[in-house]
């Protein structure tokens, strides 16, 4: 028999203290693990939104066609209500194309008839600048804003060439000098099934094309985004063939609804929305609205377009919004309007049927999707 070593009474942990210590350890372990899980979740699902803080483009640069002092202003900036769809704030949307001929500014009804102004509530700026498809930066819609922050556009130029009499390069200032900037409140429908209403600032593409004098043989207009993987790190990944390219038929390009936008909510276009200049074609799916344009070429042949090259059976050249022609993998009948609960019905040509329907008269929209 071995001697059991004597332990002094005082060295033995009293049972209740032992259990207390274990309880404490467990409580501590629980708290630490929950905190770790919560931080991991938060890191992967951040809730921070950036705000639209680019320089104002109005009123200094934009003649106020209606003489109203208030245009569509960023409701987030002044902390007022987030829905500013009432027409009183958007009356300066657009100017008549022949502004010189008629000195009286167009009435809201005239603007509505042209499609320059819709009455739907405008999407709050904080959503427009935090929910973007811009694969040149990242494929995460929520991540574009931070990935594109700091994208420098100083000294930006884009070249207009091809079948034109006056090929030339334009700075953004030169573009602005071509014709008065206009405000257009357009619906924007993404091919993914969500939509926004955005007050763009820009000029009609037709005014730029007029300036370079298209030749008779020019039947299409091709667009190209900047190719610079150092500034656009998403281009390091061959998700699409870079640079992003898009195209329009010349009659689509000349349509008054088609604009080159350089601003939104009366502020300069922020990087995540396509700074410094992007295309906006409101009756087509959003991917036609090519961003950060460096080249515009007039051609005789239908130009290649990025999404069509990637998946020709899913994305056509026309990409007109059409509730009756589904994407092969999802329905296009309804859309999630950002800021609303529940989905709304998608409209043919995104609600611009009256303005653009005739461009496609006699065309099979199922075939030419």
């Amino acid at each position: 028999m071995q001697d059991i070593p004597k332990i002094d009474e005082s060295e033995i942990t009293p049972p209740q203290m032992y259990f207390n210590r274990r309880r404490l350890m467990r409580a501590g372990g629980t708290v630490v693990s929950v905190a770790a899980t919560a931080s991991l979740y938060r890191a992967l699902n951040p809730t921070k939104l950036v705000s639209l803080d680019s320089k104002p483009l109005l009123p200094a640069n934009v003649p106020n066609v209606t003489g109203q002092s208030a245009g569509a202003t960023n409701p987030d900036a002044n902390g007022t209500s987030t829905t500013t769809g009432d027409t009183s704030t958007t009356q300066s949307a657009g100017s008549s194309t022949d502004a010189a001929a008629s000195s009286t500014p167009p009435t809201p009804d005239e603007l509505r008839a042209k499609g320059f102004l819709v009455d739907d509530s405008m999407t709050p700026a904080r959503y427009i600048v935090n929910y973007n498809n811009f694969y040149e930066f990242t494929t995460s819609k929520e991540g574009v804003a931070s990935a594109a922050a700091g994208f420098k556009t100083d000294g930006w130029q884009f070249k207009v060439s091809g079948l034109v009499n006056k090929p030339q390069s334009f700075t953004i200032d030169q573009l602005h000098a071509l014709s008065p900037l206009q405000e257009r409140v357009y619906r924007m429908r993404c091919v993914e099934g969500w939509s926004m209403v955005i007050p763009w600032i820009g000029i009609q593409l037709s005014h730029l094309l007029d300036a370079v004098e298209p030749q008779a043989g020019a039947r299409y207009v091709a667009f190209e985004t900047l190719l610079d993987p150092e500034r656009m790190p998403g281009q390091l990944n061959p998700i699409l063939k870079w640079p992003y390219v898009e195209g329009l038929r010349i009659d689509e390009a000349m349509h008054p609804l088609t604009i080159l936008a350089t601003g939104l909510y009366r502020q300069l276009l922020p990087p995540q929305d396509g700074a410094p200049v992007r295309l906006v074609v409101p009756w087509k799916y959003g991917f036609k609205g090519i961003k950060s344009i460096v080249g515009i070429t007039l051609t005789a042949q239908e130009p290649p377009t990025s999404w069509n090259l990637f998946a020709p059976n899913e994305y056509g050249f026309y990409a007109n919004v059409n509730p009756d022609v589904d994407h092969p993998r999802w329905s296009q009948a309804t859309e999630q309007r950002i800021g609303e609960v529940g989905r709304r019905k998608t409209l043919l040509f995104n609600g611009y049927d009256q303005q653009v329907g005739e461009l496609y008269a006699g065309m099979d929209l199922r075939k030419n999707y």
């Binding site: 494929t139 929520e142 993998r329 329905s331």
Partner: protein, 200 residues
């Protein structure tokens, strides 16, 4: 409560943390521009992650030799099911406006939804038999056979994810790679010469 039981509770509590935060964000209107879509993505992702974690338990047990791992497996599997049910619920309520007919129409006409639906459907018998009482009732052997369905469920879930992505398939491919690894370990073990000498 012994130590393993305590760890199991830790797993159970921690798997609920994302759900609490997701609900909290939803309540405060902080799910961003497209809350329904965000919640759909988060719950789909959580379901898939829990599923893959449940499939790492057995290899972990082999490698570490610690039997305690096994007591986390059912909890992870049940969470995979719970998150998938919430995922479907969000789809029905917000994407299909609570219309059962439109949900069924849409699921039946889209291949990636059919596959996701099948994955969820196959989870049901596993969730139903996840209690101790059911395990005893079914019998350990048949229970084990039945729960091999988890492999099929995981493959279908990864396919569902891969097919819905527009062009950037890197993330679903990462999940496909992890799953392939988890399945390969099992195949390897099944066919590798046994380490213990065979009884004659």
């Amino acid at each position: 409560m012994n130590q393993v039981q305590f760890y199991r509770w830790l797993v159970i509590i921690n798997c609920a943390v994302p759900l609490v935060l997701l609900s909290w964000d939803a309540w405060r209107g902080q799910l961003g521009a497209n809350p329904a879509s965000d919640a759909l993505h988060v719950t789909g992702m959580l379901s898939l992650v829990c599923l893959l974690l449940s499939l790492t338990i057995t290899p972990l047990r082999w490698w570490t030799g610690w039997g305690g791992w096994i007591s986390f497996r059912r909890a992870l599997g049940v969470y995979a099911f719970v998150y998938a049910v919430i995922h479907l619920g969000i789809y029905v309520v917000f994407d299909r406006a609570l219309s059962l007919s439109s949900t069924l129409m849409e699921i039946s006409s889209r291949r990636f939804l059919q596959i996701g639906g099948l994955s969820l459907l196959l989870m049901v018998p596993l969730a139903v038999t996840s209690t101790n009482a059911m395990l005893r009732k079914v019998g350990a052997k048949r229970w084990k056979q039945l729960h091999r369905l988890a492999y099929v469920i995981a493959i279908l879930a990864v396919m569902h994810y891969y097919m819905l992505v527009k062009s950037d398939v890197r993330q679903p491919l990462v999940f496909a790679g992890l799953l392939t690894g988890l399945l390969a370990v099992r195949v390897h073990r099944a066919y590798a010469p046994t380490r213990t000498p065979q009884r004659v």
